[in-house]
C-alpha cells in the first residue's frame, strides 16, 4: 500500500464543484459590479485552484514538507508581485524632477 487512495466519489464531487464555479464566474461577469467584477472573478479562480491542488493533486494528504514547498512557491510569487507593484504604482508620487534639469536653472547664470 503506497499513497492515499482518494475515493472516486470525492473526485466527482470536486469535478462538479469546478464546473459549477466555472458557470458561476461566467454568470457573475454579466452583472455590473464595477471593480468588484475583477475581485469576484479572482476569488472564484482561487477557490477553483484550491480544489484542484487539495484533491486532484492530493496535497490534502501530502506530507508537511511538500505543503511547505508549495506555500513557499506562492510566497515567492507574492514577493515578485509586491516588489514590482511597489515600484510601478509609486512612480508618480512627489514632484517629477529628473536628472540635469534639476540643476540647469542654477547653472545658467554662471556661464
Amino acid at each position: 500500500m503506497s499513497g492515499h487512495v482518494v475515493p472516486v466519489k470525492i473526485y466527482v464531487a470536486v469535478f462538479v464543484s469546478l464546473i459549477f464555479l466555472t458557470a458561476l464566474t461566467t454568470a457573475v461577469a454579466y452583472v455590473d459590479m464595477g471593480k468588484f467584477n475583477l475581485v469576484a472573478a479572482l476569488a472564484i479562480a482561487v477557490a477553483k485552484m484550491l480544489l484542484v491542488i487539495l484533491f486532484f493533486m492530493h496535497v490534502k494528504y501530502s506530507p508537511t514538507l511538500t505543503k511547505v514547498v508549495i506555500v513557499a512557491a506562492f510566497v515567492w510569487l507574492g514577493i515578485m508581485v509586491t516588489l514590482t507593484l511597489s515600484d510601478e504604482l509609486t512612480r508618480n508620487w512627489g514632484v517629477k524632477v529628473t536628472g540635469w534639469s534639476m540643476i540647469l536653472p542654477h547653472l545658467r547664470g554662471l556661464f
Binding site: V5, Y11, M33, F56, T66
Partner: protein, 225 residues
C-alpha cells in the same frame, strides 16, 4: 545498509537508496513540486506583466477582453476540468491496481486535451485572425488594446505549448500502462504527470477570468462591440 539493498528483493520500480516505498513516493512527489514551483515563477512573470500593463491601461484591457468570445473560453475551461478528472481517475485506477481503466482514462485525457487545442487553434485563433486581432500590421484598434492581445496570445500560446508537451508525455504513459508497468506499488510517472497536467489546468483557471471576464460582460450604455 538495510536488507532491501540486496538486488532481487525490491518491489518493481523501487530504488535501493530509499528506506521504504512510501519514502520514495514522497521524495518523487517533492521533486515534482519543486519543478512546478519554477513553473509558477515562469508563468508568474507573464502574470506580473499583465498586472502592470492592466494597471496602466485598464480601459484598453477591458476593451480587449470584450473582443474575445466567451463561449470558447468557458467551453475550453469545462473541457480542461474534465481532462483533469480523467487524469485523476487514471491514477486512481493504478492505485487500486486496475489496468484497463488506467489506459481508458489516459486516452480520454489525451482526447480532451486535444479537443481543447483543436477548439483553440482551429476555431478561436482562426476567428481572431479573421477579425484582425493578431498584433502586428493590420491590427484593428489602438496600441494599448494591441498590448492586451500580445499578452493574450503569448499566455494562451505558452499554455497551449505546455498542453502539447503534456499530451506527448501521456502518449508515452499510455504505452507504459499498456505494457503493465504501473500497479498499486509503482505509479510515480503517472502521479507526476498528473501533477503537471493539473498545474496546466490551474494556469487556465486563472487565464480564463483574467483574459475573458476581467472587464465584465454586461452591456455598457452607449457602447457597442
Amino acid at each position: 545498509m538495510t536488507v532491501h539493498a540486496v538486488h532481487g528483493e525490491h518491489p518493481p520500480g523501487f530504488a535501493h537508496q530509499f528506506e521504504e516505498v512510501e519514502q520514495q513516493r514522497e521524495a518523487v512527489n517533492l521533486g515534482m513540486w519543486l519543478f512546478l514551483a519554477t513553473e509558477i515563477m515562469f508563468f508568474g512573470g507573464l502574470f506580473m506583466g499583465y498586472i502592470v500593463y492592466r494597471s496602466h491601461f485598464p480601459g484598453a484591457f477591458d476593451d480587449g477582453s470584450h473582443l474575445l468570445n466567451i463561449k470558447f473560453g468557458s467551453t475550453n475551461t469545462a473541457v480542461l476540468i474534465a481532462s483533469s478528472l480523467t487524469m485523476a481517475l487514471a491514477i486512481h485506477s493504478a492505485q487500486v491496481g486496475k489496468k484497463k481503466p488506467q489506459i481508458l482514462f489516459l486516452i480520454l485525457t489525451m482526447i480532451l486535451g486535444a479537443l481543447f487545442l483543436f477548439l483553440k487553434f482551429n476555431f478561436e485563433w482562426r476567428a481572431d485572425y479573421h477579425e484582425h486581432l493578431i498584433p502586428g500590421f493590420g491590427f484593428r484598434g489602438d496600441p494599448h488594446v494591441q498590448m492586451f492581445f500580445c499578452f493574450y496570445f503569448f499566455m494562451t500560446g505558452l499554455h497551449a505549448l505546455h498542453m502539447i508537451v503534456g499530451i506527448g508525455i501521456l502518449i508515452v504513459l499510455t504505452i507504459m500502462a499498456a505494457r503493465g508497468r504501473f500497479n498499486e506499488h509503482y505509479y510515480a510517472p503517472l502521479e507526476n504527470t498528473g501533477l503537471y497536467w493539473h498545474f496546466v489546468d490551474i494556469i487556465w483557471i486563472f487565464l480564463f477570468p483574467l483574459l475573458y471576464l476581467a472587464g465584465g460582460r454586461y452591456p455598457i450604455p452607449g457602447v457597442t462591440h
